[in-house]
Symmetry: C2
Subunit: 320 residues, 2 copies
Amino acid sequence: MGEFDLIARYFTRPARRSPLGVGDDCALLQPAPGMQLAVSTDLLVEGRHFLSTVDPRTLGHKALAVNLSDLAACGAQPLAFTLALALPQVDEAWLARFAEGMFALADAHGCELVGGDTTRGPLAIDITVFGEVPAGQALLRSGARPGDDLWVSGTLGDARLALEAFRGTVSLPEPVFASARARLEQPTPRVALGLALRGLATSAIDISDGLVGDMSHVLRRSGVGAEVEADCAPRLLAALQQGLVADTVRVQDLVFAGGDDYELAFTAPERARAAVEAAAAQARTPVLRIGRITAEPGLRLRDAQGRPVADRWAGFDHFA
Amino acid sequence: MGEFDLIARYFTRPARRSPLGVGDDCALLQPAPGMQLAVSTDLLVEGRHFLSTVDPRTLGHKALAVNLSDLAACGAQPLAFTLALALPQVDEAWLARFAEGMFALADAHGCELVGGDTTRGPLAIDITVFGEVPAGQALLRSGARPGDDLWVSGTLGDARLALEAFRGTVSLPEPVFASARARLEQPTPRVALGLALRGLATSAIDISDGLVGDMSHVLRRSGVGAEVEADCAPRLLAALQQGLVADTVRVQDLVFAGGDDYELAFTAPERARAAVEAAAAQARTPVLRIGRITAEPGLRLRDAQGRPVADRWAGFDHFA
């Protein structure tokens, strides 16, 4: 099967909202009047971001999910995406599964594939995603202010727990492993929450490299610091809620520096607490208040008695 | 050097036209009122699209140039781009040269880097480019009509000639090799010509996989055929114009199926001949009329006496 047959068979569907989709030199996008286009790109490389043994259906999901997560962190409504794919060979069963996982998530968000590129090469997937956001309403990393609450969505650390199980450093009961593995392989982009937080959150970021590491970007760009209640960690690890026994420090490692969570960390004024809770309920997404923004720079972890907890967690760095 | 330092040092420049550039979860683009956004992505993989020995400066140029060429083929004005980069290691000298080549071309077209992703992995470069085009004025592949003239810009086949010289299948005098190599490694995206052809050309495509193969996409999407004057080939190969001796059939191979040309093939009504010549002069881009569009499907090559010339050229296919 050649490049053009491959595109035609697996990656060509009629454009519904976009003026022009797959098959010309360019796709055409038409943001609605008053809308800005939010753009993000995430490159996934075999062995670095996923194992060669991963089910291609979950890989198709994840490659798009990590991009939708960036739109969520901006409060943007998904619109369209492009797919660049390097494949070692044309494996039709693999492609069919990959496309199935990718399009299932795309359809759930009304996000259409409008273009791309395919070539032979070491397995790599680069998706660039486009969303709409009213001009001036995007959630940025730069808006956190001293006194704001710090919130996170969903649960943290379970994806890393699954990775450690794959690596053999922990042994998990089967149900715990299954749910942790689902978090690693099929993250849930918090698109509805991002939309609901427009006008409420002062800043937002999606957690891909670990909470502590990713928050450092928000703090630096906002010119502020944060205090985080370290004791919230056990409430954030789903595996622990499900009965897995683990010592506290290990739970903190997973929750604060696990990575691959694709949850949102966001800030909002204290007076907006009820509104944030209502927005989260409307988006059917659990949220937890874990700390507050301070004028003093840096991120500090505190225990229940307000004593400092050493921050041993640097953000995951793809070149470290 | 970590991922974030790398981005900060080589790939972060202040956004000038875009509301938000590198450094947040998404970039923000704001097309002017009445404008559509043209989007294209091209993935370049080491060993497939470039040799490991290539000067990173020319690689930076080419990775962006092949994308700008897609905008040119749509008649779109370059606006912004994202860069996803997988690198086997962080080589600062390499990165500095790569960025230099990429930004030199970007600046020449007023096209700004607004976002991206970097990771460790086998060397691969995926650029997604954004341009503006007035709604309804994009040059498409689907608009060619019987009776239209078929035109190409610049010269064809020289990039492939350089590739054959690298492969050792031909031996070239040094000046010929140098200019052919420049065509392979530093193609010129025909952005000004694409803009000048708005409202004149009925269809356009950029020639990346060879004229005959790429024209097949235009013909199929337009529901037409074409007759091409095979004898135009020697006028299109710059190396031949510069005094390289080569037999006719080899010249036709290079010109009609060489690939990597990044010239435009476009169609326009016969009555627009003078206007096309004027548009090309305004864009300072040579163009040559090489045939005409027919109602009969398929592409047919004819010699000066109108006799059929066998079409032995299928388009380059990255999976063939």
